[in-house]
Symmetry: D2
Subunit: 388 residues, 4 copies
Amino acid sequence: MLARPDTMSQSKGTVVLAYSGGLDTSCILVWLKEQGYEVIAYLANVGQDEDFEAAEKKAVSLGAKKVFIEDLRKEFVEEFIWPWVQSNAIYEDRYFLGTSLARPCIARGQVKIAKQEKAQFVSHGATGKGNDQIRFELTCYALYPEVKIISPWRLPEFYNRFMGRTDLMEYAKNHAPDGMFMMTVDPAKSPNTPDELEIEFKNGVPVKVTNLGDKTTRSSALELFMYVNEIGGKHGVGRIDIVENRFIGMKSRGIYETPGGTILYQAHVDIEAFTMDKEVRKIKQQLSLKFSEQLYNGFWDSPECAFARHCINKSQEHVAGKVQLSVFKGQVYILGRESPTSLYNQDLVSMNVQGDYDPIDAGGFIRICSLRLKEYHRLKSAMTPKSK
Amino acid sequence: MLARPDTMSQSKGTVVLAYSGGLDTSCILVWLKEQGYEVIAYLANVGQDEDFEAAEKKAVSLGAKKVFIEDLRKEFVEEFIWPWVQSNAIYEDRYFLGTSLARPCIARGQVKIAKQEKAQFVSHGATGKGNDQIRFELTCYALYPEVKIISPWRLPEFYNRFMGRTDLMEYAKNHAPDGMFMMTVDPAKSPNTPDELEIEFKNGVPVKVTNLGDKTTRSSALELFMYVNEIGGKHGVGRIDIVENRFIGMKSRGIYETPGGTILYQAHVDIEAFTMDKEVRKIKQQLSLKFSEQLYNGFWDSPECAFARHCINKSQEHVAGKVQLSVFKGQVYILGRESPTSLYNQDLVSMNVQGDYDPIDAGGFIRICSLRLKEYHRLKSAMTPKSK
Amino acid sequence: MLARPDTMSQSKGTVVLAYSGGLDTSCILVWLKEQGYEVIAYLANVGQDEDFEAAEKKAVSLGAKKVFIEDLRKEFVEEFIWPWVQSNAIYEDRYFLGTSLARPCIARGQVKIAKQEKAQFVSHGATGKGNDQIRFELTCYALYPEVKIISPWRLPEFYNRFMGRTDLMEYAKNHAPDGMFMMTVDPAKSPNTPDELEIEFKNGVPVKVTNLGDKTTRSSALELFMYVNEIGGKHGVGRIDIVENRFIGMKSRGIYETPGGTILYQAHVDIEAFTMDKEVRKIKQQLSLKFSEQLYNGFWDSPECAFARHCINKSQEHVAGKVQLSVFKGQVYILGRESPTSLYNQDLVSMNVQGDYDPIDAGGFIRICSLRLKEYHRLKSAMTPKSK
Amino acid sequence: MLARPDTMSQSKGTVVLAYSGGLDTSCILVWLKEQGYEVIAYLANVGQDEDFEAAEKKAVSLGAKKVFIEDLRKEFVEEFIWPWVQSNAIYEDRYFLGTSLARPCIARGQVKIAKQEKAQFVSHGATGKGNDQIRFELTCYALYPEVKIISPWRLPEFYNRFMGRTDLMEYAKNHAPDGMFMMTVDPAKSPNTPDELEIEFKNGVPVKVTNLGDKTTRSSALELFMYVNEIGGKHGVGRIDIVENRFIGMKSRGIYETPGGTILYQAHVDIEAFTMDKEVRKIKQQLSLKFSEQLYNGFWDSPECAFARHCINKSQEHVAGKVQLSVFKGQVYILGRESPTSLYNQDLVSMNVQGDYDPIDAGGFIRICSLRLKEYHRLKSAMTPKSK
């Protein structure tokens, strides 16, 4: 039997453990008590499919002093997913960063409880080679610098004891909650008729989704996100099998699904292109690249990430309008877009209307652009040895 | 009747015209003769669906002094598309740059003919508001700085005469050849069973494609590219409807299809992630961003683009191996990959093997990473006004 | 004689001319009248050494309908130079962008007058190969899109007539006002004792300068800037002889002096390094690079420049404190700095105090950083052909 | 007494220690023996002012099994400093990276000896909070992945014993050799007449320096570098007092002198601007920024740094010519430059010659550039609420 609390004469202090109800964090809970800590179990609901009531009972039965269950879904969507939608951030061109967003949200909640309960310790079940340990701990240190972190999967006394237990390891692989991201159906088995959605944005954030078929609408952040997740899942959108570079420098294989995120990403990229100035876009694209690394590496609660979020949010001032799209067999097709703040000028671009535009100017523009190229040609010609 | 060559007492010189056989460049051909030029028609085959024999006859019948038809398909694939595959370059996160690649290839051929035929002029049918005029002309100026370019759609005497002709304009909209990129089928009407391909890369360039179903293989560059284009087209891969920012600063809507390019892009991104160091990848990603702008804006024949291509090519030294993927209903799904030069280390990443890795180190790594964050917390706490 | 206003039966409209009182813009004034325009002379005082009263008389005597003289010095310093100080922007690693800042300030004033006076035209004396024409005109177009710009040095009818006049050309070389930047003394002839200054910053902007020797202080923006300019000039600070790349792609030689700007740049870089987080600094450095190009190329009044300025300003929130420096023989030496918002932690960095820092962590940090390098070594070793 | 070798019954193995002859590494030598290691002392001459013979004797007397003294000066200049000169890399806008270059050079030599002598361990005297430990160890791990590193200043058993010894700590502060960089004189006490130098470059690397006064010339890499270092030192060039961000995230104050490096930097920036295309320069500038971080953080022997060096070297193909400069009172003034491969075109830039340039084109160029700005103005006007 794992737990021998009676052998403990005195508590080493209180630990707030990010608890999932699963085998791994249950083991950790018991082990922490065995080591002489009082344990508070913290369960954050960021949308994962979990029986929170059962988890609570289990935590209590394993000896947790207290259990906190918090529904963070609304703040997860509004304070984490929405800034990500604004950013278009994708890690290494492919990964949509779902888990990376959930970690700091959960850790923030856990730190709040730790401070409130005057706990000096926090703990979690993330493994010792992955990114989640970093994401979790950097947020804890950033928000609660004096905290002590117990990371059992990095402690030989823990992992040497449990490592052989393949069942536990297997469980741990499917580790902690990955947020809103539920399972998608196989695109091959997805419906043979598309769903057509219209997504409305203000300040680069989705404010309304309308199913153009059955006229379903969702306007609150959480409901909207859950709805696009549902539609994406139904059509098998957002599955990837990739090799990625972890922060600590290893390559690892990851299989992810991001149904709602993929739909919102496509729609946002489109409305942004329609409403954002070209050169602003270039600067913002660089900020997004940085933001994707910050997120992936666990630096949500850093000065640089706060700065990047501020700048990206500023860039979204005029990103407003509606995008129509079709979701079908794992794909999202943009059908059209409209915006009150578009920089698209039909007259300017038309082939039948000159508008304010004189094509003669393009000739001057091109000749000026070619000046450098001609100089370079001159130099290279001069440097080419001439035969007799 | 347009042509009145007999009224011309003396030639203004020789023009090499990029001729497509269509209505627009036919009009230009006749108009150039009318203006007193001798016209050489130049038809480049970069894979577009066209009856070159008929076009040649037409050019002759309209009064072309000479007609040159060149099959540039092999060099288009090897010297333009392959560097693009190495780069992963995408313009504004969505456009795969097909036409951007074809322009400098065609212009280079045309310049070669102009020099050979001692023609002082070149001409083309690109419109006065688009990107193609720039791509075309920058290459001409870069390779043949003394050349004079006649761009009829920018000349009032031309466009005022032809602008009302909606049929011509309509035709012109579907302007010049877009290279290898043929029509895709509607994904909704595409086959209900996927094709599974294995694509092999060396130095970041595809060297062999194998259909894992019927065992078809293609190894020569041109055949390989035509085959993935065919498979992509069959499954409706690579269709997009976007708003993009033209070089001259207008936003315009573009509808593109890049079936083969999309497959190769996905496969290359995957094998590159598997074999390229993380930090090399970041530098290369920035080079690709630059490269995408150079390509889009027409600077293929510039010192900066030559430099970017050199560096990108250097980055591909170890990008080798095989990617298995499935093509289905408009999507490309990566199934797996293998490589003799992978930086993926199964032992290192495994949860059951510590290998050379001590998880304790991760704790030190995280605490060092958190130093800055703690300092920032200290500063912000010190700055927060304290209530009594 | 140039001016023949009596031959004009009817005005072509009103032009607001950026007038300097010199030979070149005087010629332009007369030539514009000769062409049938009514001319309003606009003289902006951005700190250049000029007799504005004399210039006004001259403009009137040459036939200007009205003359506006505006003292823009305060807004030039506060709205243009201060954002530049915040940015640390240097073009191509060397040029401090003085003239680039003055152009949009002057053009903005000129546009205001043009709108107020209902003038449809503006004009200037910048040459046809330089950057100033672009800086001037982009601001005019951005703020007054319907305006017509008359740029005489680009009009053959003007420049063919005046080009031979070497005296005029010589004068034009030393073209329009370069703002606050007065002459510096030769460092070889500068004083043999340094001046020591203390510059105080808030939000990255200088708010007070104190001469540590004679206790002179300046606190208002304009006076502060004039004072550091004076001290810099006295000690020969900020002279450079460079080759730069103009926006239109030519290389040109430029000889500049930026006495005050150089002092403020050095002081600001120092206080920023002391107070800004490392990773925020990296992002901000990229924004500054972009900002330097925007400024140099004339895009002050563009959405991307407004965006860059906003973000840079945001980054300066905690950039506050005092920098002590010595100005001597063309050099600026930083002597020390202090700040209420420093991220510098004496305890943390001390060699005698461990503080919150455990050096064991550095070992873990380094080993984690080396993981990639070891994998790369493994790959390269595997690929090296082994001799028998 | 520190050393008690007789108490050791069996050796723990052989350590190659980077030995400086100073108190700190002498302590380490003795301590390592005390711990049961056999110690090989390694002294690298990278130009520092040191009595190598005395150091050798001392090492032997303290019980070193062997002593290796290597003159790495030539390879330090050719393989480390020259690539840096090509790069223009400056860390955080101010630090010239001298020590950062010396570390990997020394560590490489040390690893070579360790392999040759079949030593499993290496050791060094760098402190536990600084950058040098990282630079040293990353190179060791990269070139010799199996090596074990003993870093005494990170081991409590070592630093707790020696930390109180202020004299040792004081010594350690002036830690290991900083390469070629000797002391500069105080600019205030430097000569009242300048030295004028001409530096010739090929492929971006200095190949000859000529003193235009006394006609001294130096052509071999080592002698050339020592000469510019001497001239720079004589005139007090390259002293800075900065706050920098260490890799581990602390801010620290650094006082550096880089006399020769500053001269070569200024000269190289100048000849590069004269010969390198504008857009190539922009890409290269980004690579240099990356390179400066790689160098500073100790990643010389990484795939990304090898890649950056390759690309930077490629960019230098046409960087050739001569730069004349004056060195005086702490400053370097560029006087002029000439090059067989310059992209500077006197005719093109001249105000009296139109050359191949038609100023009319600039008008078209500017109007095209303003298109976006006008659209943005239109959008903002439309969004401004109108009063009744």
